[in-house]
Amino acid sequence: MAEETGLVFHPMDQFIVKPLFGDGPVMWYTPTNATLWMLLAVACVVALFVLGTRGRAVIPTRLQSVAEVFYGFIYKMVEDVTGHDGVKYFPWIMTLFLFIFFSNMLALIPMSFSPTSQIAVTAVLGFGVFFAVTIIGFVKNGTHFLGLFWMKDAPMFLRPIIAVIEVISYFVRPVSHSIRLAGNITAGHAVIKVFAAFAGVALIAPASILAITAIYALEVLVAVIQAYVFTILTCVYLKDALHPGH
């Protein structure tokens, strides 16, 4: 009978960082499930790009053509958004994209852990981008970089107000940049688990399993789009740092 109608497991349990060996306290050096899945993501990137392009064949193998599609896609994005002088930051942006893409994709394996659902992980990426872009902006343009906040086209009496708004929006960037990724992945995985809990009730199990299938497909899309969005916003911020005038 259906005496157990509440949630058997909590939908947020999947985001708990646990030590891999034993269950002691989690210190900064403890290998946890987050460490494991991040290492697996790096291993996938290495496997695809080192093993895949090792042959350097003129007619690419299947793995090599996948690697080439990734490379070409990100290269074109960097060139389109940041312009020709942004291309030398391409390796950095490619690294970001591949790490986030493979973390998101591996997290879709059932019973896996999603490193990008941890705000700690995405905040390191987001604030890393923020500091790097700010430093690049000052090194490349000197104090001219502050022109990003001082709109020369605006009427004089509006410029201080716009400057305040621009400064606030500049400092909110790393926060929204990192929380967008973590929030999207957390929300998606929690929704899947909520529907998985409904699957235990025999009456609505078929509808629930159909819903899980549909949401899983949506999550595959979200995983790709969020990696893309994170990367293209990095490109946009980089463009602002390289050309603060416009």
Partner: protein, 79 residues
């Protein structure tokens, strides 16, 4: 004792109110996509060059909904 019960209830009511923000962000995301589609159907040749802008706009609109979701989560699990 009653104060603790009211606080526990208020947490969930607050989380529910915060979730309204996520719904309103959905209107914003739909607005971005709808206007992109309307523009793309009028001038299909310019559509492909604007997909990057589309995704940036979607991301900005969606981020605020995610913030609302985050507030709901914080109220339910952290407060």
């Amino acid at each position: 004792m009653e104060l603790a019960a009211a606080a526990a209830l208020g947490k969930f009511i607050g989380a529910g109110i915060a979730a309204i923000g996520a719904g309103i962000a959905a209107v914003g995301v739909g607005n971005v996509a709808a206007n992109y589609l309307a523009g793309a159907l009028r001038n299909p040749s310019a559509a492909a060059s604007q997909t990057a802008t589309l995704f940036i706009g979607l991301a900005f609109a969606e981020a605020l909904g995610i913030f609302a979701f985050l507030v709901a989560l914080l109220l339910m699990f952290a407060a």
